[in-house]
């Protein structure tokens, strides 16, 4: 609402200016004719004052709107590298805002100050090598500093993931994300192959690989707090992009080319809820590469758990093979025995406990 009121005032401001321009023009025509030797007309001064007014109202609007919008900015980063990049962002932002403000001020002020005056002549000032040198070197130095710090941060972020990182696979498809964990036994993701995808095995897990047997899938992303997490990112159909806004994580998902991003979540969901005072707050994983009709809705919820809770959650998950025992048929003969131990002998085991219970009775 405030913004709309602001907008209306801008509109009326423009209307007011145009009315003044018109009336000045009429006045001017009555009093004196325009100077025939120049293209400057009676509105010249109005336009000059307009530059000042633009500077003034622009500054007020800029400061006010920033303050009004700031509460809706992303909260403090919930990842280790995010804190660094946020800090760098605001430092860079201050530098460029200063440059933006100073140069725009000079531009608009000079436009006002040196408006046409028939008693004055412009200064013939075609070149000054010293000045040119100064304003080549200063931006170059500032830029060099920004680039250097940016490069170091970038290098750290994109470095090899620590060997103890929790590896999670994210697969983008129209329009959603599949999540796969390496399982609680071998903790390694098995292979996958896009040709093995079917309605149930929608990631295309390859069961000829023994690491696949204990892999489990999920519809939401659980991350352990304080531990490095390596996301292995795939796409099935078109480009997608993994975006965890609160963790400052973004990496495209490309069909046929696995990508990755590792980071360390530093704030658990509960801590974030407490910090923001929002009981129903949740981290999100969104898509930021246009992928079709459902692009804007392609999101899953992300939970950052305390390490113990994370372990507990993992333990509760059932391997894919356990919930879909039919895929045992895809396991090669020599590994059948290994795979079979994930096939819960449900009917038998459940029954046996039942019979045991009965027999005790």
């Amino acid at each position: 609402m405030n913004f709309l009121i602001g907008l209306l005032s801008i509109v009326f401001f423009i209307l007011a200016i145009s009315v003044i321009v018109k009336s000045m023009k009429i006045n001017k025509n009555l009093s004196e004719a325009e100077d025939p030797n120049t293209a400057a007309d009676s509105s010249n001064n109005i336009n000059a004052y307009g530059m000042l007014a633009f500077w003034f109202f622009g500054t007020v609007a800029g400061v006010w709107s920033f303050n009004a919008s700031a509460p809706d900015f992303l909260p403090e980063a919930a990842s280790a590298h995010g804190i660094t990049t946020d800090k760098m962002f605001w430092i860079s932002m201050s530098v460029v805002t200063l440059a933006f403000f100073v140069t725009n001020t000079l531009l608009l002020f000079f436009a006002y100050r040196y408006r046409y005056n028939k008693n004055r002549k412009a200064t013939f000032y075609p070149v000054n090598h010293k000045l040119e040198l100064i304003w080549t070197v200063i931006p170059a130095v500032v830029m060099a500093i920004l680039v250097f710090s940016g490069w170091r941060t970038w290098r750290d972020i994109t470095s090899q993931a620590p060997s103890d990182a929790v590896v999670i696979e994210i697969t983008g498809h129209q329009f959603g994300w599949y999540v796969r964990y390496g399982g609680t036994d071998d903790n390694q993701l098995g292979n996958y192959n896009y040709k093995l995808i079917d309605e149930t095995n929608n990631i295309g897990i390859d069961f000829t690989d023994k690491h696949s047997f204990d892999d489990f899938t999920a519809t939401e992303l659980h991350l352990p707090k304080g531990k490095p997490v390596l996301l292995k990112i795939h796409a099935q159909d078109v480009l997608h992009s993994v975006y965890l806004p609160f963790h400052r994580v973004k990496m495209d998902a490309v069909p046929g080319m696995p990508t990755k991003f590792w980071f360390t979540p530093t704030v658990s969901t509960d801590e974030m809820r407490a910090k923001l005072g929002k009981k129903d707050f949740n981290f999100k994983l969104n898509c930021t590469e246009v992928c079709g009709r459902g692009h804007f809705g392609m999101a899953i919820t992300v939970f950052v758990d305390e390490p113990a809770d994370y372990k507990k959650w993992c333990a509760e998950q059932k391997p894919f093979l356990a919930t879909n025992p039919a895929y045992l048929a895809k396991v090669p003969e020599n590994l059948k025995a290994k795979a079979a131990k994930y096939i819960p002998a449900e009917p038998i085991s459940v029954d046996s406990t039942a019979t045991e219970a009965v027999s005790v009775n």
């Binding site: 709309l4 907008l7 109005i46 805002t97 070149v127 490069w151 975006y243």
Partner: protein, 630 residues
């Protein structure tokens, strides 16, 4: 070649032998299949303006969805038909089509063809002192290929499956697989066909601009006496000539993938319950090829605007442009660097991070020549005597927008910061200010400034002032707040923000409404321009030969320069184009064709030495005429 020569001959005889039989070109030769650079320029301009209104109205439609997601748009059904869904909202796929076509139209059809096509064609022969382009015929072909391309792109708006919808960058596999979205069907085919013709048009134009600038300068017009407009058109043409073919190859490979079963960009795809046989392709390859054009394209759009601004600011500040050679140097620097920064669009695409570091360094270097340009503009205003014509106002606006949009480039060019900001509204704000709005302001400045030479009449100034202030305030009101939503992590090309969760969609409701209303007002105020433009062509005040008291050669032509531009000899050039308010001079401007020997009172010491060279320059007349006769 023979066509070019015979044409030049014809121009020559036409211009010089007035007693000679005068075969007046008929209507079709004069206005439709014209080989006259001025007519072709006007054709480009009118097409550009029409496209701008189409492109702008598309943006208003998607802004309505973003600002007022609950609004009933049933009233748009007469235009959009079933693209308005049963609930009275814009269809989700059509939303993407709107975004895509808005980008495509604005970048290519308005700011490349409309800007470069208009002013390179109009100003190059007039400002360097040539009777026409090196090849009028190729120039005509260039426009008609553009027209063909426009017709195809326009027709794609009306097909049942909708126009291309995968974003203006048309990244495969989305754009390669018709099953991925309806817009990737016929709409995409038309898009690619249209762009192929567009590239042909652009190359023909570019070759012509370069040839003309190198070969057809009038006697005395050395490279260091060329107006900055010409320098900027020259570099723009080089950029286009070297980068557009790469886009053509990207498009061709995409056409192969789409139609002939190749796998240049496709690999391991499972879509709609089917695993495709394609393996081994790389979607990233397309992005490299695309941005190899895509980034220079930013400068193809921007450089002509900067060049014209240099000219307009100097003229209306009544002061030489500050640092003429530094301006050329920075244009050159930008041109070279423009080719080696493309991958900064791809920091988070999975490209090797080491490559990201390299491109971050290169990208931030390009900020230096850009900063030099901004400082030089500001210093040109300093101690000037500023006349605020509408063209001057738009030029000052351009400098402001160029700075405001440019500074955020330093943030986005930093790969570590780009991780969070990539594909958010921060990027949208950045490039709409620095490239979209700044170039648009350059286009407007150019129209207001050269209108008298184009149509022999003046545009209404008061309407021009109102148009400027409404647009200047408007574009800031539209694009500046987008930085905020960007910092808040709002991704671009989102139909709505419901999936951000945590009430994200309610965070900027009023801001998004503000942007939409501001966009509608800004767009509507372009009607003032349109009215002024059309009205002034027919009913404007009659212009004089040199209404702005400017120095460059085009103002030495008659009010309505005919075929061949100068009725008599082409004037010779003796001095640079920026002798404004020269100490000692009687008038506050000394045009380029005035020899130093005629202005002893204002000559600088080194310029007195130039007097000796005047004889040599004059003696080139015969050779120059000869070249037109050859």
């Amino acid at each position: 070649m023979s066509t070019a020569i015979s044409h030049a001959e014809e121009v020559h005889t036409h211009a010089h032998d007035h007693e000679h039989e005068h075969h007046e070109p008929n209507f079709i030769q004069k206005y439709i299949f014209s080989e006259d650079h001025k007519t072709i320029a006007k054709q480009y301009l009118i097409m550009g303006i029409l496209w701008a209104f189409i492109g702008g109205s598309l943006s208003i439609m998607f802004r309505l969805q973003l600002g007022f997601p609950e609004m009933q748009l049933e009233w748009l059904r007469p235009i959009l038909g079933s693209w308005i869904d049963e609930s009275g909202k814009i269809d989700k796929e059509f939303y993407l089509a709107l975004v895509t076509m808005h980008g495509t139209i604005m970048v290519f059809f308005v700011l490349t063809a409309g800007l470069s096509g208009t002013f390179s064609n109009f100003l190059i022969p007039l400002q360097i002192g040539a009777r026409d382009m090196a090849s009028g015929f190729i120039n005509m072909l260039s426009f008609w290929f553009f027209f063909l391309s426009s017709a195809i792109m326009f027709s794609s708006l009306f097909i049942e499956t909708g126009p291309a919808s995968g974003g203006w960058v048309i990244y495969p596999p989305l754009s390669a697989l018709p099953q991925a979205m309806p817009g990737s069907g016929l709409g995409m085919t038309l898009w690619l066909t249209s762009m192929a013709f567009f590239i042909v048009s652009s190359l023909m134009g570019g070759i012509n601009y370069i040839c003309t600038i190198i070969n057809l300068r009038t006697r005395g017009m050395t490279f260091t006496k060329m107006p900055l407009t010409i320098w900027s058109f020259f570099f723009t043409a080089i950029l286009g000539l070297l980068s557009f073919p790469v886009l053509l190859s990207a498009a061709l490979l995409l056409i192969f993938d789409r139609s002939f079963g190749t796998s240049f960009y496709l690999s391991e795809i499972y879509i709609q319950g089917q695993a495709l046989p394609n393996v081994g392709g790389s979607a990233i390859l397309y992005q490299h090829l695309f941005w190899f054009l895509g980034h220079p394209e930013v400068y193809i759009v921007l450089l002509p605007a900067l060049g014209m601004t240099s000219e307009i600011i100097a003229t209306n500040a009544r002061k030489p442009i500050f640092g003429y050679r530094a301006m050329i140097g920075s244009l050159m620097g930008i041109t070279v660097l423009a080719f080696i920064v493309w991958a900064h669009h791809m920091f988070v695409t999975g490209m090797n991070p080491f490559l990201g570091s390299v491109f971050m360094f290169l990208t931030l270097i390009i900020a230096v020549p850009s900063a030099v340009k901004a400082f030089n503009y500001i210093t040109t205003l300093w101690k000037g005597n500023l006349i605020f014509t509408p063209a001057m106002l738009f030029s000052i606006g351009l400098v402001s927008l160029f700075i405001s949009g440019g500074v955020t480039g330093i943030i986005l060019g930093n790969s570590a910061l780009d991780i969070n900001l990539h594909d958010t509204y921060f990027v949208v704000a950045h490039f709409h200010l620095v490239m979209g709005s700044a170039s648009f302001f350059g286009l407007m400045a150019g129209v207001y400034h050269w209108f008298p030479k184009m149509f022999g009449r003046m545009m209404n100034k008061t309407l021009g002032y109102i148009h400027f202030w409404a647009t200047f305030v408007g574009v800031y009101a539209v694009f500046f707040p987008m930085h905020y939503t960007g910092i808040a992590g709002f991704p671009r090309r989102y139909y709505s923000f419901t999936a951000l969760g945590n009430d994200g969609q309610n965070a900027f409701t009023d801001l998004n409404q503000f942007i939409t209303v501001a966009a509608i007002l800004t767009f509507s105020s372009q009607a003032i321009f349109f009215f002024n433009f059309v009205y002034s062509i027919f009913k404007g005040k009659k212009a004089t030969e040199n209404p702005w008291n400017s120095n460059t050669l085009e103002w030495t032509t008659p009010v309505d320069p005919g075929h061949g531009n100068w009725p008599g000899e082409i004037p010779a050039v003796y001095r640079w184009p920026y002798d404004y308010s020269k100490p000692g001079a009687e008038s506050d401007f000394i045009p380029q064709h005035i020899p130093f020997s005629a202005t002893p009172e204002s000559n600088l010491p080194e310029e007195n030495e130039e007097i000796a060279k005047e004889k040599a320059i004059e003696s080139l007349l015969a050779a120059q005429n000869e070249s037109y006769n050859r």
